[in-house]
């Protein structure tokens, strides 16, 4: 048998985190990892988040040295960690960045120069290559980094999940190029949570568990054992509703494989197949969605439309797609989502449903899988209309959540959504000072992702001036908010109905206007449900917001009924509003 080019024996590594002058804590990332890497083979590293895979890659790249055990390299063997955009400088042109990053990654200057044209061509950056990097979109930057990475040819290539780059078309190209590289004679250590790709690409797999080598063997066998073990060992949390039901392990299995922020939900608008596909294409360009493990697409068209969506997903989204029908129960959804082969789940709810009804149906199904901690509802109108099924959304996950509403146009400006989250956060705490004191857009974006309630609250709470002065939203959305504020002032001044009516006319072509087309019965029920849940929720979690929120809801309700000519209902809402506005 050939001798290994890299050999690891009982490798251990700990981090020391300094917390004060004489105080530090130690975190052991790796305890005893042993395996060999032979020339030309592709080894997969699998394991749960935090088990030490990335640390191990850094040790193999000789970026760090192990605390215990040894890593022996054959003579002149270099291992390089595939790093996208290493050393990129925003102020420099793309061309200089490619050269600099390539040199940092170990390519000689002459080699990069000779391959520069190929890199530029692959990254599709031709016209922009001499422009500063700060003028590039996130996708263009990532493409440039990826194209450069493809040109690297170290003895051992260390790859840590980098396939989700750029738009759908580029992802396909990148995936194929990377697959060619991984399946060539190149020696590769491949880390991924996409177990299907691990099985497809790797000769053998090392399963790392709590910093130790748990199993080494053929890819299929190790992955199967890993899946079995992770299903069996994950205990359900005691306070979770699933703990009381026999299906708990299955739900936990979903939870285990889909970490927070890995599931997206798209509700098609019922505007026909081409529109839905266009929406999906736009959405898959969102950086946040690129990293998602699974995408749930809910549609309510004919069967062939759902099948077409499945086909699109299979062709454009890494991994396979599954189709379920309206009668799908928790087991089926769990099974599909936990399958490594399925990255896109199309829920066909049958024709004839409105958008709100579709959303409710999806919510009901997802409500049962409370292991999912993030659900993104990506469709227009979700965030503003009082018809949003707040009760369902609130209880669906049994924890704080974010509901992000977006029009298709926003897919090209994901920053807007993120910023909205950050703004929302400040507003939710009823403290705008930190925001005004200089939270940058990027900081706001980070904040929004750390505080899950962000956007829902934000879009309900953003004062008009803030929206108008900062211009974070589309003009038409701003008009909607302006109209609502106009309504508030009108109601406060006692002019109520007529003013509300004119305000809503003002808000024409905004999400508010969508209310007029919704079926009355659904609206009435949702409005009441929404009002009730908002009161319960704010009473429990944010008592300081309760009067304000209820007032706003009541106002929307009154405006809506006034517009429909249902004066009695509108008056009822205004009475609720008056109660809230009454000085205490």
């Amino acid at each position: 048998m050939k001798s290994p080019i890299i050999s690891l024996r009982d490798v251990g590594f700990s981090y020391s985190i300094r917390k004060g002058l004489f105080h530090s804590t130690t975190y052991t990332a790796l305890r005893a990892v042993s395996f060999d890497i032979h020339r030309g083979e592709t080894i997969g590293l699998i394991g749960r988040n935090g088990c030490g895979k990335s640390t191990l890659l850094r040790l193999l790249a000789q970026i760090s040295k192990p605390d215990q055990g040894s890593i022996t390299f054959a003579k002149d063997i270099t291992a390089t960690l595939l790093t996208l955009q290493a050393g990129f400088d925003q102020e420099l042109p793309g061309r200089d960045n490619v050269i600099l990053s390539g040199m940092l990654l170990g390519m000689p200057y002459r080699v990069i120069r000779s391959r520069l044209d190929r890199i530029i061509e692959f990254a599709e950056s031709g016209p922009f290559i001499d422009e500063p990097l700060k003028s590039y979109s996130d996708g263009m930057r990532a493409r440039l980094g990826f194209a450069l990475a493809l040109e690297l040819a170290p003895d051992v290539f260390l790859v840590d999940e980098v396939l989700g780059v750029g738009d759908a078309a580029f992802q396909r190209k990148a995936r194929n190029a990377m697959r060619n590289k991984l399946t060539s004679d190149q020696t590769v250590v491949y880390v991924s949570h996409d177990l299907q790709s691990v099985v497809d690409l790797c000769n053998s797999v090392v399963w790392i568990d709590k910093g130790e080598t748990r199993m080494i063997g053929k890819a299929g066998e190790v992955v199967e054992a890993y899946l079995k073990a992770t299903c069996a060992q994950t205990p359900a949390p005691p306070d979770s509703p699933q703990a009381e039901t026999p299906e708990a392990p299955l739900t936990e299995r979903v939870k285990d494989h889909l970490s927070p922020r890995e599931v997206g939900v798209v509700v098609s608008h019922g505007q026909g197949l081409p529109q839905t596909i266009r929406t999906l294409e736009s959405l898959t360009r969102l950086p946040a969605l690129r990293d998602m493990r699974a995408l749930v697409v809910a549609c309510h068209g004919p069967e062939q439309d759902a099948q077409a969506i499945c086909k699109w997903a299979e062709a454009n989204w890494i991994g396979g797609a599954g189709l379920l029908h309206a009668a799908a129960q928790r087991d089926e959804v769990c099974h599909s989502l936990s399958s490594e082969k399925c990255r896109c789940l199309v829920l066909n709810l049958g024709p004839g449903l409105t958008e709100v009804q579709t959303r409710n149906a999806v919510a009901r199904i997802l409500l049962q899988i409370s292991g999912l901690s993030w659900v993104w509802f990506l469709s227009s109108g979700v965030i503003v209309v009082p018809g949003t099924p707040f009760a369902l959304l609130q209880h669906m996950l049994a924890r704080p959540m974010a509901v992000i509403g977006s029009s298709i146009g926003d897919a090209d400006h994901p920053g807007r959504l993120k910023c909205a989250g950050g703004y929302a956060l400040s507003r939710r705490n009823l403290n705008l000072e930190p925001l005004c004191a200089g939270l940058t857009r990027e900081e706001a974006a980070k904040q929004s992702f750390h505080h899950l309630e962000g956007v829902y609250w934000g879009c309900m709470a953003l004062p008009t001036e803030l929206i108008q002065t900062n211009g974070f939203f589309d003009e038409e959305l701003s008009r909607g908010y302006a109209a609502l504020d106009y309504c508030t002032r009108a109601a406060q001044a006692g002019y109520a109905l007529e003013w509300c009516r004119s305000a809503l006319v003002m808000a024409d072509s905004t999400p508010v206007a969508a209310l007029r087309d919704a079926p009355e019965i659904g609206l009435e029920r949702l409005l009441l449900e929404d009002l009730r849940s908002a009161m319960v929720y704010t009473g429990r979690h944010h008592p300081e917001l309760r009067p304000w929120l209820v007032a706003r809801r009541a106002l929307c309700g009154s405006a809506m009924w006034a517009l429909r000519g249902k004066w009695r209902l509108a008056k009822g809402c205004l009475e609720v509003l008056a109660q809230q506005l009454r000085p205490r």
Binding site: Y15, S16, Q62, D89, L92, L100, M103, G106, P108, P132
Partner: protein, 255 residues
């Protein structure tokens, strides 16, 4: 990475950093000339016109000292945190950590050479004698580069383990400025016994030699330069050895 590739990478990074720095400001390259002129102008205004301080030729005396010491202190300030701040890239690639302070030192050296050229222009305009001894200036600059590099690499290699050192750096540099004879002539201010102690600080000796050449048109003290140059090389070697020795510990120290 081969030594030649490392050197090429360092030089490319220096060029890239300078370009990047320039592109952030509207006046671009002009700042490299305007800033030192302003800097020198302030001192000329304060000491040469307002205070009418010092001895004969006090203004060039002061500017020569300031230019030289400014190079040292700028490089030291900028490079002190160069390894400390490079956590992001250190986590991604394997690279000799000397790269980070070396890039900063060379970057400041380029900028200082421009300031130094302006200083020479000022000396000519001021009417100081231009002699053949000016040919010794490159040697003086080279010796200073060795000392600056040695100090910067050494300091940047220690800061990640004792980050608090950053806070005493400015005070230390101010003390150095006071003890290097920027504002006064060491030979006439101190008694000879104390002067020897002052000249153990290589920067004080270098300032004196710059002044010998530029102000008085005399040759530098070759013996002193040889000792300082040799000592600087030792320091540089020691610093490089230390940073190499601690290479794998930096990432742990700063995370």
């Amino acid at each position: 990475m081969r030594a030649a590739d490392f050197l090429l990478l360092t030089l490319f990074k220096v060029r890239a950093n300078l370009r990047s720095e320039l592109s952030r400001d509207y006046l671009n390259y002009l700042w490299w000339i305007v800033e030192p002129i302003l800097f020198m102008g302030v001192y000329y205004l304060v000491f040469g016109i307002l205070l009418k301080q010092g001895t004969h030729n006090f203004v060039p005396f002061l500017l020569i000292g300031l230019t030289s010491l400014q190079w040292f202190s700028n490089a030291l300030i900028h490079s002190s945190t160069s390894i400390f701040n490079a956590q992001g890239i250190m986590r991604q690639i394997k690279i000799n950590k000397i790269f980070f302070p070396l890039v900063t030192v060379l970057q400041d050296t380029v900028k200082n050479l421009i300031v130094f050229s302006l200083l020479l222009l000022f000396c000519v305009i001021y009417g100081l004698p231009v002699t053949l001894n000016w040919l010794a200036l490159p040697i003086l600059l080279a010796v200073q580069l060795i000392i600056v590099s040695g100090c910067c690499i050494m300091f940047s290699g220690i800061v990640p383990f004792f980050p608090d050192l950053r806070f005493v750096l400015n005070s230390g540099l101010f003390l150095l400025m006071c003890l290097s004879g920027v504002f006064f002539d060491v030979d006439t201010t101190f008694i000879p016994r104390h002067s020897i102690i002052i000249y153990m600080n290589p920067m004080a000796g270098l300032l004196k030699n710059y002044r010998l050449v530029l102000l008085h048109g005399q040759p530098p003290e070759w013996g002193y330069l040889l000792i300082v140059g040799f000592g600087g090389l030792l320091l540089l070697g020691l610093a490089a050895w230390l940073v190499n020795r601690l290479d794998h510990l930096y990432l742990r120290a700063i995370q």
